[in-house]
Structure formats: structure tokens, C-alpha cells
């Protein structure tokens, strides 16, 4: 079963998200995005505006949910490079909620982020403010993953009954698929037909089904990481300390090999060490997210453990589509939620799930 994420035991829980937390949340979710999850700035401005207009959003824990509560995931689907250009339309989420409540026959009370990584970790807060709902301090991944099947609920054996998807021009589609792999396949095809970007609602759950099936405390953790960066004079060390992460290397990008296959960024980035790391060379394998770090022919870290490339000066995460030749970056890695290290978790999101013929060796983070 999913357990609390490593960072969540450190500090007091946040019970309310205000407009002043959103800059920090955006920074934190970009870091949890492990290279994927899309650009967060657009989402951030939307959420700040909604919280300023509608007031703070209540952030609840799994323990606070009652029998009348219905939790639903809401997330953007599609290519991040498209998402920064063709943004969502007003009313797109209201149409989704209406259709979801019609299918359920009862009101939805709580939104949850499908993934804390990237814009999908930020936008549910703004959507909840607009829709007058509360947000669960949890998510389905504890990071970003490219596939809707790679969620903790799936690892825990909780079924998804239906999914609804809406696009920028107003098309709404309900999907009842036999499992999440088919949902992923149908949702992707539908998204391409809608111009490669959509918003979806899925995984309706109750207080009962949520328990033990989600990764808890991740919204608070992302906000804390963001505040740590904003308040630090040495952002890279501050983030590493907050996440219990290790800085693998600092250097500059000397080669980039990226392509898009079926809507996914694939490729690799080569980083040459500078300063104390001069002479070292690391290569990261990318598939929307950063999946492997290799040095001298050895795998240092592999998915599902978290790998994020951050700007050496500012500490801000750099998504795979924003990587550029010559950028000065540091590579950060830290352990994933324990749910991903179970046999079912590794089957869903281990190296083999991404086509790598490698044994998974757990990364131990800052403590060696």
C-alpha cells in the first residue's frame, strides 16, 4: 500500500492554500515534475488570479474526508509544447464537473491532482477555487509520469469507473474503458483529435477507497520546497536539503538529442561537469520525464526514483522541452515513494515499463 511520502513527516501540514503560496507551489511542482509535467507559469498566473478572486482553498488530509465526500482527479492531458500556446478556455472545467456529477448522480466535493509534478500539480487548486471545492493534500504519482496507468491507485488495485474529457472548443467525451491502459490509449487519440491538449476528470473515489491508495502530503511538500528555494541564498543546497536529495553533478549542457514520438518527447541530454566536477560527463535519458542518469557506462539513478535538472544559479527546475545547449545546470536525484518500489509499482513504473532492460537499484538519496 502507498505510504506517506518521505518529505511529509518533516513539517506541519498546510491546511489552506492562499494566493501567496502559489509561487512556491509552482516552483515545487516543477521540481517534482522530474523534467515533465509541462510549464507551470501559465497555470500559476491562473491559480493566483482565481485565489485572489475566490479566496483561499481548503487543503484536507485523507483523515478529514467524510462519508459524503467524493474525490475526483482533474488534470490537463497532452503535449506540454502545445499547452504553452493553446491554453484552456473559460468554462472548460465547469462542463467537465457537470458531466461528472451527472454520471455520479451526486456532487463532487474534493479535487485531487493526478500528478504533483508540473502544471497538473498547480491547476487543480485554481479549478477548486472556481468550482467552490476543496483539495486533497495528496496526488496519484508523487512526481510526474507520462501514462495515466502509472498511478498509486492502480498499484493499490482501486478501479477507475469512467473518465470525461473536454477540449478548448467545447467537445465533451465520456470514456468507459476496461482498464487504465485502454483509457490512456483512448484519451491520447482523442487528445490528438482535439489539437493535442485537453482537460480530463477521472478516478471518482470515496473516503473509503482513497485511504491507502494515494500518495499523501505532496501538495504541502511542494509548497515547502518552493518556499525553501525562495528563501535561500544557495538555492541548490536548500532544495537538496528539503527533499533529502543528492546533487549528482553541476555542469553545462553540451549535447541534446530530442524528438517527439506519438506526442512524447524522447531523447537524451549530455552534461559536462564544470568547477569541481570538471572532467565528468553524465547522460540523462528522457521520455517526457528524466528517466536515467548514466556516468562512465553505469546507471546512477533510474525511474521511478526522481531525477530533476535544475538551473545552477536560480535552483529552478528545467523541463525537458526547455533544455538548451550551453545551459548551466545541476542534476538532482532523490528516492521515490515506497509504493513504486513494490513489485506492482515496479511493474507499472519501473525501468522495464519504459523499455529499459535494467534491474532497478533503489537510489538512497543524500544519505549513502
Amino acid at each position: 500500500m502507498a505510504q506517506t511520502s518521505p518529505a511529509s513527516h518533516v513539517a506541519e501540514r498546510i491546511t489552506e492554500v492562499t494566493a501567496d503560496d502559489i509561487a512556491a507551489l509552482g516552483i515545487g511542482t516543477a521540481i517534482f515534475g522530474t523534467g515533465g509535467g509541462g510549464e507551470v507559469y501559465g497555470a500559476q498566473t491562473m491559480v493566483e488570479r482565481e485565489l485572489t478572486t475566490h479566496g483561499p482553498v481548503r487543503l484536507v488530509s485523507v483523515d478529514e474526508l467524510g462519508p459524503d465526500d467524493v474525490v475526483m482527479l482533474m488534470s490537463g492531458i497532452g503535449a506540454p509544447t502545445v499547452g504553452i500556446e493553446m491554453l484552456s478556455s473559460k468554462g472548460q472545467i465547469h462542463a467537465l464537473l457537470e458531466e461528472a456529477e451527472r454520471l455520479l448522480g451526486r456532487p463532487v466535493t474534493t479535487l485531487m491532482a493526478a500528478e504533483i509534478g508540473g502544471s497538473n500539480g498547480v491547476r487543480p487548486i485554481g479549478w477548486a477555487a472556481q468550482l467552490g471545492l476543496q483539495v486533497l493534500d495528496a496526488d496519484g504519482m508523487g512526481r510526474a509520469f507520462p501514462d495515466a496507468a502509472m498511478v498509486a491507485m492502480n498499484a493499490a488495485g482501486v478501479h477507475c469507473d469512467w473518465a470525461v474529457q473536454s477540449d478548448v472548443v467545447g467537445n465533451i467525451t465520456v470514456m468507459k474503458t476496461v482498464d487504465l491502459h485502454w483509457l490512456e490509449r483512448h484519451a491520447r487519440a482523442l487528445t490528438v483529435a482535439s489539437g493535442s491538449i485537453c482537460i480530463g476528470a477521472h478516478y471518482p473515489m470515496t473516503a473509503e477507497t482513497v485511504r491507502g491508495a494515494v500518495i499523501e502530503g505532496t501538495v504541502s511538500a511542494a509548497i515547502r520546497v518552493g518556499h525553501a528555494l525562495l528563501n535561500a541564498s544557495d538555492p541548490v543546497s536548500a532544495i537538496a536539503a528539503e527533499l533529502d536529495a543528492r546533487v549528482l553533478m553541476s555542469g553545462k549542457i553540451t549535447d541534446l538529442d530530442r524528438r517527439t514520438v506519438g506526442g512524447f518527447v524522447r531523447g537524451s541530454v549530455t552534461i559536462s561537469g564544470i568547477g569541481e566536477d570538471r572532467g565528468r560527463l553524465q547522460r540523462l535519458e528522457l521520455q517526457n520525464e528524466n528517466l536515467l542518469v548514466l556516468e562512465d557506462g553505469e546507471v546512477l539513478v533510474s525511474v521511478p526514483d526522481l531525477i530533476t535538472i535544475i538551473d545552477t544559479e536560480t535552483g529552478h527546475a528545467i523541463t525537458t522541452e526547455m533544455l538548451r545547449f550551453g545551459q548551466r545546470v545541476s542534476v538532482l536525484a532523490w528516492p521515490c515513494d515506497p509504493v513504486w518500489r513494490t513489485p506492482r509499482g515496479l511493474e507499472l513504473a519501473g525501468p522495464a515499463a519504459f523499455g529499459y532492460d535494467l534491474p532497478y537499484i533503489p537510489f538512497e538519496g543524500a544519505a549513502r
Binding site: 501559465g42 484552456s88 553541476s250 545547449f325
Partner: protein, 524 residues
């Protein structure tokens, strides 16, 4: 016949207008520094007249005049002289959750925005129309506006489907008159709707400001009877024509820092260094790598507005010669008396304590000027302010040096006396001759550049880079670069989404110094 080998560089900053003349070997043979005037022209006229006077009859050897300026940035930051812009976005209902100018500082939006509309039109990534173009809506919107100077148009995915923005420009000119000023987002930036839209609105708002500067340069060159080509320096350190500069002022926004960084490195003889240019209002720090300014493609803010065009990677700290020291609170900046330092600073008989006055406590930075007797509170606040300056500069250098303390720090700019002779985070501290006019030197040594793009299947990536490099070098030579000195300065790769075959777009920039013109090579 005399050689026509002299280059005249001018830099119009917020405080000073500098001018230099470089000979064919790249040696500074004349330089001057004049206060920037409210009308811009006065400062440029005085600067150019000064340096021409000091070379006497050799003035006929001046064959090119290059101008760089931070005037556009200052206009945005100070909300001065900006035009009113009507913004039309094409693509509704898409993106209606994010209205135009989302995230702008309210005061700036209030000054610049004459009105905005989100109307039908735009395209999806694959070229499918999002909705029909709302031609009536466009006409209704502009007819309902009160007063505006220019119109900015941004269509969703216009960088890859450009025809519709062009059609709308025609529609607007047909409806409002052929001289209507219309600016299209496809000319300003890449995908990233909000940032490109922001940059397009800023560009439109800056038209009058930019035109005043290009007109000033043309006027002064004509008054002086110079037979010289005129250029504007742009963000990437290469040159553009004056017509182009008036049309696309945002592309000159970073030329001040780019020139300063390149000019300082040139004067110090170092190819790898950190440069700090201390002006009247800010200290701008940049990094020179292999003789070129490090650039950033990350979205950045200009006057609180997020944009996404390529700019030199510059860290600005609110420390300059005119920075005001608050005696009561001890606060240093960010307010500055700017170019009014020569009237308002204590050293000049004024009543505002500034960092120039703080430096004067240890020894006057201005020859022949001494501080009046100061109340002890003022003297002690000024002394404390110097320590604050040292701390802030040290932190800034540390951020840029990535923790290496051995990189030389080149100090330039009129306020360079504020940088101490030792900083823990810096290596050797260099103060090159003529450092006070590094910006103008940077303009004078500006390069001719060329960019070429090549789209190719992923498997042919390396040959695509090779082909684009050859084409970029050819363009740079065509723009006037010396064939022996031209080099590839940047290779940018972006994947092209949703193509049947994995495809990459490589964009290569080549640049080199202008080929030296000799009498024999010049016809006119």
C-alpha cells in the same frame, strides 16, 4: 585617398550618452561621455560632435556609426513615452481562461492597454482552424475603441500558421487606413502564447520611443555631414538597420547589456570573464564565454512583464552612482536620481545623498569636487551604504561564477568606483582603460550576423547542423562579416512535434566582425 576604416559607436543609457571612435586596428582613438538629455537627440549630438572634433580632418574616415541603447527598457521600467496599444487575440474559445496581459503590473497595463479582445480565429498545432476568423468582431472591436496608437495581433500558433495574422493586418489597414500601425506576434517571438503576446504589446508600445532614437541618430549623422552607414545594435550583439530597429524595438532591448559585456571583455583582453557594468541606476552583471555574452532563452521579466525572446543572460542589482541612500532608514536604493546626479547629489551641491557621495567619503570619484561638511548621521549612513554595496555585489558575482572564485571580474561603467578592489567571490579585478565607455566600444565592435534554420529527419541531425552552419556563415558574410573571422556562435535545436517522422529544427547563428573597408573596396 584616405582609408575609410573608422567606426563610431554610441551608447544611449539612462544616465549618460557615450561615444567612441575605433580605428582599423580596434584601438580607441576618441571617447566622450555626455549626460543623456530628455529629448535623446541632444545627448547623441553632443557625444558625436565631441569625438569627431577630437579627430579633426580624419572625420572623413568614419564609414559606419553603430548605436546601442537601453532607452526602450528604461521607457518600460519608468512607464515613460509609451504608446497605447489595442490587443487582438485570435483563437477563442481557446485560451479564454487567460485574458491578454494576464500577470502584468496593473499600472503598466493601465498606461499601455487601450483595450483587448479575444476573438474567433487561430489554429491548432496541426494547422486545423480553432474557430472561423471573426472579421466582424475585429471591426466592431476597433470601432469601439477610444484612442489608440497601435494594434497588436496574436493568433494561437501563428508561428507555424502565419497567414491569418497577415490577413488580419490587411483587414485592419483596409478598415482603418493604410498607415495604421499593426504589429504581429509571429515577427516577435516563438510559441508560448502569453509571453509572445506580452512581447508584441511591449513592442507596439515602444514604437514612438524607438523612432525618436533612430530619428535622432539619422539627424545627427546628417548634421555632421558624415558619409557613413548607420546601424542599431540588437540583443544578440549583431547589427540591424534603422528601419528594422524602429519596427522591432524589443529586439534592441538587450543591446545595452550585450554591448557592455562584449565591449568590456574586448577592452580587458579576456575571453572568459564576469563583467559588471555599474551605471547610474543599476549594476548589470553578465558572463562572457569565449568572447560572447552568455544568453538565456528562459522567459524573463522586463518591467514586470514576462517575455520569451533571446536576451543576454544578465543579473541586475539596484546599485548605481545615482542610487539614493536613505539616511533615516539606512536603505540603499532602488530609487536613483539617474542623470540628475549632477544637480541632486551632495557632491554637486544638491541635497540627495547618493552612492556617489558614499564613495566620495573615501576619496572623491569626481576630480575637483569635494563633499560639503556633513551631519554625522549622514556621514555614517553613507559609510554603512558602502558595506551594503560590497555585500550585494559579492553575492551577485558568486551567483554568476557558479562557485568558482578565480574568474576575472571586469569592472566598467560610470559608477565603477563603487566596486572595491577585492571581492571574496571574484578572481582578479580588472578596470580596463576606457572602461567607462565599454558600452559604446561594444556597439562599435558589433558583429555582422546571420542565422539559418534547417529542418531534417532526426537521423540526419548532424548533416542538418552542418548545412545550416554553412548557410549561416554565408549570410553573415553577406551582412558584412569578415570571411576570415566569422564563426558559429550558437546552435539551437528544437524537435518538431506531430510529424510522421521524428524531425528536428536546427537553428544556427554565425557572426563575425565587419570586414574592414578599404578605399579600394568602397564605391560610395
Amino acid at each position: 585617398m584616405t582609408a575609410r576604416d573608422l567606426a563610431l559607436g554610441v551608447d544611449v543609457g539612462g544616465t549618460n550618452t557615450d561615444a567612441v571612435i575605433l580605428d582599423g586596428l580596434g584601438t580607441v582613438i576618441a571617447h566622450t561621455k555626455r549626460p543623456t538629455t530628455d529629448d535623446v537627440t541632444g545627448g547623441i549630438r553632443a557625444g558625436i560632435a565631441d569625438v569627431l572634433a577630437s579627430i579633426g580632418p580624419d572625420r572623413t574616415r568614419v564609414s559606419r556609426v553603430m548605436l546601442g541603447t537601453t532607452h526602450a527598457t528604461n521607457a518600460i521600467v519608468q512607464r515613460r513615452g509609451l504608446d497605447r496599444v489595442a490587443m487582438i487575440r485570435l483563437g477563442a474559445p481557446a485560451a479564454t481562461e487567460f485574458p491578454p496581459l494576464t500577470g502584468w503590473p496593473q499600472d503598466l497595463a493601465g498606461i499601455v492597454l487601450a483595450g483587448s479582445a479575444m476573438l474567433g480565429g487561430g489554429h491548432m498545432v496541426d494547422g486545423t482552424p480553432i474557430s472561423p476568423l471573426d472579421r466582424d468582431g475585429i471591426r466592431r472591436f476597433v470601432d469601439g475603441l477610444d484612442a489608440f496608437d497601435a494594434i497588436a495581433v496574436a493568433g494561437i500558433f501563428s508561428p507555424s500558421s502565419p497567414e491569418q495574422e497577415l490577413e488580419v493586418a490587411e483587414l485592419l489597414r483596409g478598415h482603418l487606413g493604410q498607415d495604421t500601425r499593426v504589429f504581429l506576434s509571429q515577427d516577435i517571438g516563438p510559441t508560448g502564447l502569453l509571453e509572445r503576446e506580452n512581447a508584441t504589446v511591449l513592442n507596439a508600445a515602444l514604437y514612438s520611443v524607438a523612432l525618436a532614437v533612430t530619428d535622432a541618430l539619422v539627424t545627427v549623422v546628417a548634421e555632421e555631414g558624415l558619409d557613413a552607414q548607420t546601424f542599431f545594435a540588437q540583443n544578440d550583439g549583431t547589427l540591424m538597420s534603422l528601419d528594422y530597429a524602429a519596427q522591432y524595438p524589443v529586439l534592441t532591448i538587450g543591446s545595452g547589456p550585450a554591448n557592455s559585456i562584449r565591449g568590456a571583455a574586448y577592452l580587458s583582453g579576456h575571453d572568459n570573464a564576469i563583467v559588471v557594468d555599474v551605471g547610474g541606476t543599476t549594476s548589470d552583471l553578465g558572463v562572457v564565454v569565449g568572447g560572447f555574452p552568455r544568453e538565456s532563452t528562459l522567459p524573463r521579466e522586463i518591467g514586470g512583464v514576462r517575455t520569451n525572446f533571446r536576451m543576454p543572460d544578465v543579473l541586475s542589482v539596484g546599485i548605481g552612482g545615482g542610487t539614493v541612500v536613505d539616511v533615516v532608514s539606512g536603505r540603499v536604493g532602488p530609487e536613483s536620481v539617474g542623470y540628475r546626479i549632477d544637480r541632486e547629489g551632495l557632491l554637486f551641491g544638491g541635497s540627495t545623498p547618493t552612492l556617489t557621495d558614499a564613495a566620495a567619503i573615501a576619496g572623491s570619484p569626481v576630480a575637483g569636487r569635494r563633499l560639503p561638511a556633513l551631519p554625522s548621521a549622514t556621514a555614517s549612513a553613507l559609510r554603512d551604504a558602502l558595506a551594503v554595496v560590497t555585500d550585494r555585489l559579492d553575492a551577485a558575482v558568486e551567483r554568476l561564477s557558479l562557485g568558482r572564485a578565480d574568474i576575472p571580474l571586469v569592472v566598467v561603467g560610470g559608477g565603477g568606483f563603487l566596486v572595491p578592489d577585492r571581492l571574496p567571490s571574484a578572481g582578479e579585478i580588472l578596470r580596463p582603460d576606457h572602461g567607462g565607455v565599454a558600452n559604446a566600444v561594444g556597439a562599435a565592435i558589433s558583429l555582422a550576423g546571420g542565422r539559418a534554420d534547417q529542418m531534417a529527419p532526426m537521423g540526419d541531425r548532424e548533416s542538418a547542423i552542418e548545412q545550416a552552419s554553412e548557410a549561416a556563415i554565408a549570410k553573415a558574410i553577406q551582412a558584412g562579416a569578415d570571411p576570415l573571422d566569422v564563426s558559429i556562435v550558437e546552435i539551437l535545436e528544437t524537435h518538431v512535434p506531430y510529424t510522421a517522422q521524428p524531425t528536428v529544427n536546427v537553428s544556427v547563428k554565425a557572426a563575425g566582425p565587419l570586414a574592414r573597408l578599404t578605399a579600394g573596396a568602397v564605391s560610395g
